[in-house]
């Protein structure tokens, strides 16, 4: 079921490309073109590194020069100070890059979005000054006339092309393995929505750290080889802003989040930049930079997500066949299930933001296999309550017991792992992933084995009736299908308690009915549901029990019929005047 049917084809294509590149190098004798043929795969490797981290996870790094430069200096200092051959120096650079990735990532992941990107900018700047201060203003590879091979100093520069291509190939295979595995899907999920990923049970910080270490290692290897090929290293040339920007531009140009992006970017932009420099540099100094910039801007305008995705969209548009409309599940009446023992017990729960109490002294419980409706006017504290239940917000008072265990204040991904799944008010689809891939992200929590996870995902799709869409890109789904898909993602994790935040928002009556039909079947499978919803008629036919919140407090609770007649509830929702109308009716 897992979509790796064409992995063999991809590897074969990569091999073919590598062989033709080497063939090209074999047929060229000019050292100038051989240098270019070696520099393209080196820059592509840096692109791959950036892609492994930023392309897949969506956390933009402006600071990959930090790893690249550390790798370059590691090889250089090893050579000059310790007579260490680059054959060992480059692998050592890889280890150093991973360590640096951990050291940089651990503190920096506290920041999000733009703040993360800006903080990353600081590391290479800092390192550039550090290496300058240490007296490494400019280092050059000592010429070894004897033992040249041992020191990677080849008279025939084709060998550099070979080494660069082999390392790039390794980088690409690592990248491919990531793309097709749990690792890549988790990163992709975080890229689209970190909170949703956490809610699906992904330990985002852990995965980010792994990605950063791997990425740092690859970048440092690229830097190490760069030092060997260019022979001169200065803080500006390896820690400079241009290096970080190069990594980013190559990937964004080619297409982020895909194996092919860095390859396309490097194969087009590096020779282009060099040709412009060669042809125009001495005629109209500076014009090469202007033209290079214009090309990048034009391509980004024409293909904002990169060339690869643009081409993919072109080819896919033609064969975009909607397989078949999913068969709407027949509406069923609520299958009567006797509710079991208390599953979730909330006691004295409270949350204040500064002086504002969003939730105060809230106590209630949910029984196993029950469907509990949570209603209340806007601002009543419903979403805050959900956020506390699933660990997004830490309560300031009270305690949450889940199946007898205290889960108060657990991080979101841990809460997901004990068996609480949730959906969001606004659908968080992973648009570039297929429906099945979207769902499998949710299945990873409870299935350490990947095959089990894919199977659970398929089952979850079956349950919501989206099986025919399994391979469609989520970006092409309608709102109703997206809601169903998000429900399937939550179900795939096999949660015992499912928290649904306005699952019917934005749906028409028919669509809503279909979703409700799905929900009605769930308690029979042993699941417990808490649902926030505004669409009253739909809720009346669905839930076993309501709790009503108003201004952060529990206003009423009980069976739907009781609650709907409660004066306080009507007042809270509609204001005092309606009381009279109601009485008259």
């Amino acid at each position: 079921m897992r979509p790796d049917r064409n992995i063999g084809r991809t590897v074969a294509l990569l091999g073919l490309l590598a062989i033709s590149w080497l063939g090209l190098a074999g047929s060229v004798s000019s050292p100038y073109y051989l240098l270019l043929l070696a520099l393209v795969p080196i820059w592509a490797l840096l692109g791959v590194s950036w892609n492994v981290f930023s392309g897949y996870s969506g956390l933009i790094s402006f600071g990959h020069a930090a790893f690249f430069g550390l790798g370059a200096y590691c090889v250089m200092i090893g050579l000059i100070r310790f007579q260490l051959t680059p054959w060992f120096g480059i692998p050592l650079a890889g280890v150093l890059g991973a360590v640096a990735g951990a050291a940089i990532g651990w503190p920096t992941f506290r920041l999000r979005g733009n703040y993360f990107a800006l903080a990353m900018l600081a590391y290479p700047l800092m390192l550039a000054y550090l290496f300058g201060w240490l007296g490494y203003q400019e280092l050059s590879v000592p010429l070894h006339r004897e033992a040249a091979l041992w020191f990677m100093q080849f008279a025939d520069t084709r060998v550099y092309v070979l080494i660069a291509v082999v390392l790039l190939l390794v980088g690409l295979l690592v990248s491919l393995a990531i793309e097709r595995s749990r690792f890549g899907l988790c990163l992709a999920a975080m890229k689209q929505n970190e909170l949703a990923a956490e809610a699906a049970g992904i330990d985002t910080r852990m995965w980010k750290l792994r990605a950063m270490m791997l990425s740092g290692s690859i970048a440092a290897i690229a830097g190490g080889l760069y030092a060997v090929v260019v022979l001169v290293v200065t803080p500006g040339s390896v820690f400079g802003l241009v290096v970080s920007a190069q990594a980013m531009i190559l990937v964004l140009f080619g297409g982020a989040g895909t194996l092919w992006g860095p390859l396309i970017g490097a194969a087009v932009l590096v020779p282009l930049g060099e040709t412009l420099q060669a042809q125009l540099g001495s005629l109209l100094p500076g014009i090469q930079g202007v033209l290079y910039g214009c090309v990048v801007i034009l391509v980004i305008l024409a293909a904002p997500e990169g060339i690869y995705w643009k081409l993919l969209d072109r080819t896919r548009r033609s064969d975009d066949v909607r397989i078949a409309l999913p068969v709407p599940l027949p509406p069923v009446a609520r299958v009567a299930v006797a509710t079991g023992p208390v599953l979730l017990d909330v006691a004295g729960l409270g949350k204040s933001f500064g002086g504002v109490a969003a939730v105060q002294d809230l106590s209630f419980s949910i029984r196993s296999q029950e469907i509990l409706g949570i209603i209340g006017p806007n601002g009543a504290g419903k979403t805050t309550l959900f956020n506390m239940l699933c660990g997004v917000v830490v309560p300031t008072a009270g305690e949450i017991q889940f199946d007898g265990d205290n889960i108060t204040g657990l991080p979101t991904n841990r809460v997901a792992r004990v068996g609480i799944g949730r959906t969001f008010q606004v659908v968080r689809a992973f648009a570039r992933m297929s429906v099945l891939e979207n769902v499998v992200v949710g299945a990873f929590v409870h299935h350490p084995d990947d095959n089990d996870a894919w199977r659970a995902a398929a089952d979850a799709l079956e349950m919501v009736g989206l099986t025919p869409y399994a391979r469609t890109l989520a970006g092409r789904l309608t709102n109703r299908e997206l809601r169903l898909m998000e429900l399937a993602r939550a179900l795939a994790g096999g949660p015992r308690l499912l928290l649904l935040d306005e699952p019917l928002a934005g749906l028409g009556a028919n669509d809503a009915e279909e979703l409700i039909a799905v929900l009605r079947r769930l308690p029979a499978t042993g699941m417990t549901i808490a649902i926030i919803e505004h669409t009253m008629p739909a809720m009346l036919g669905l839930v076993d029990r309501f709790i009503v919140l108003d201004q952060g407090r529990l206003l009423a609770h009980g069976a739907p019929s009781e609650v709907m007649r409660s004066r306080e509830v009507i007042e809270a929702y509609l204001g005092r005047n309606w009381e009279v109308v109601d009485a008259a009716a």
């Binding site: 000019s30 050292p31 100038y32 073109y33 240098l35 270019l36 520099l39 300058g132 203003q137 400019e138 050059s140 590879v141 000592p142 010429l143 760069y226 260019v230 022979l231 001169v232 290293v233 200065t234 500006g236 040339s237 400079g240 241009v242 060099e274 420099q277 060669a278 540099g281 001495s282 100094p285 500076g286 090469q288 930079g289």
Partner: protein, 408 residues
């Protein structure tokens, strides 16, 4: 046979078929010299000045009859842009070698790390290469084809203070005793002053009375320059490297009445004498400020300086232009001596060269290179801003103006 119009016409008619091939066989069509220079990026101005110097040399060589040993073969200059990084420099060098298989030798690439990258390529290809860069690393790699015409950074740091003291003595008849240092913490001034602090100044009978180091950019030069005024040094090493900091410190010096040479202030490096600096800082602030460099417009080359101004429109000739002008003439002399464009033979000719004529483009020493490629006896020039023009004031025998120095 006298050449008449009829003869010429006949000749032309008869020889159209054979002319080109036979003519080429008799004399080499051209001799190719290379120049790699940062023509784009932050060092573009210096790169451009380098190119102007080399171009003028090639024009002068050809005007004077080309390479006589090769039947008056003309010299052609092939120029490469090394941009703003060692990577681009290495690319430029490889490209130059690929495009110009007959390249005899060349010069460049201004910034020392670019020169390191370029010479890694030229050394392996056996191309004789000249540079004005100071870095010790360039000639400490055991290379056989690299020649450095400026004193190395180490040599400069050692020679600078004695040179300055010699000027002070010559100008005032007294020894300068008290030294002040104001600098930023970038690489060049740090390495330049390291030896002075570690006993170098005392060995010359000088005492460092004020020593101020700041991290650029400087927000206010007031406190620093006030401390200088309080300490009353005889000579001030004023070594900021960024133009805004140079401007701030000079403004403050003038404001507190130490400008216009009242306190002799001296910087290090050719960029301190660039026409661009004059435009940014202004002639009044620069008046009296001195700088140390490897060569500058010297006595005896007034005609060259004038010709350079006329041809390029630059206000004066700088170290960049002058050094590369000389480099091309050295290459020319080597080809003449070798009687060949074979790189090995040309390189061998450079190794035994000792040319007193070309040596005049430098303040001291000879155009003779030692084992490592250093120019023997390379020494320093001190130039001083006077009325908006930096003029050579030391060594005395090559000076074009008297120094402005208090107590004269």
């Amino acid at each position: 046979m006298s050449i008449t119009r009829r003869n010429l016409t006949k000749l032309a008619a008869a020889s159209t078929v054979v002319a080109s091939s036979s003519a080429r066989a008799q004399q080499p069509a051209e001799v190719v010299f290379g120049l790699i220079s940062p023509l784009s990026g932050p060092w573009a101005k210096s790169g451009d000045l380098s190119r102007k110097g080399a171009e003028m040399a090639v024009a002068d060589i050809n005007k004077a009859g080309g390479i006589k040993a090769l039947g008056g073969a003309k010299v052609r200059l092939a120029v490469g842009d090394c941009g703003d990084s060692p990577e681009k420099s290495k690319n430029a060098a490889q490209r130059l070698l690929a495009d110009e298989p007959n390249l005899v030798g060349g010069a460049g690439a201004y910034v020392s790390s670019f020169t390191l990258a370029v010479t890694e390529v030229t050394e392996r290809a056996g191309v004789p290469w000249f540079t004005l860069s100071y870095s010790d690393a360039i000639t400490s790699r055991g290379f056989h084809y690299v020649y450095q015409t400026s004193p190395t950074a180490d040599a400069q740091a050692k020679a600078a203070l004695p040179t300055l003291l010699a000027l002070a003595k010559a100008a005032t008849g007294r020894d300068a005793k008290k030294l002040g240092i104001v600098m930023d913490n970038t690489a060049s001034p740090v390495s330049f002053t390291k030896g002075l602090r570690a006993g170098g100044a005392e060995a010359l009978g000088m005492q460092i009375v004020v020593d101020e180091t700041f991290t650029p950019p400087l927000s206010d030069a007031g406190p620093v320059m006030q401390r200088v005024r309080a300490a009353r040094p005889d000579v001030l090493l004023l070594l900021p490297t960024a133009v805004p900091d140079i401007k701030l410190t000079l403004e403050k010096m003038n404001e507190i009445g130490l400008g216009h040479g009242k306190l002799p202030a001296i910087n290090n490096g050719g960029p301190m004498g660039s026409p661009d600096l004059l435009r940014v800082v202004g002639p009044d602030m620069l008046e009296g400020v001195m700088f140390i460099t490897a060569t500058w417009g010297l006595k005896g080359m007034e005609a060259l300086t004038e010709e350079f101004r006329r041809r390029t429109g630059e206000p004066w000739i700088t170290q960049d232009s002058l050094s590369n002008y000389a480099h091309m003439w050295i290459l020319k002399a080597a080809v003449e001596a070798a009687g060949s464009t074979d790189r090995e033979k040309v390189n061998a000719a450079i190794k035994v060269m000792d040319d007193p004529e070309i040596a005049k483009f430098f303040p001291g020493g000879r155009v003779k290179f030692d084992e490592q490629g250093h120019r023997v006896g390379a020494s320093l020039v001190i130039a001083q801003w006077q009325n908006g023009v930096p003029v050579t004031v030391f060594p005395i025998d090559r000076a074009v103006a008297q120094p402005i120095w208090p107590g004269r």
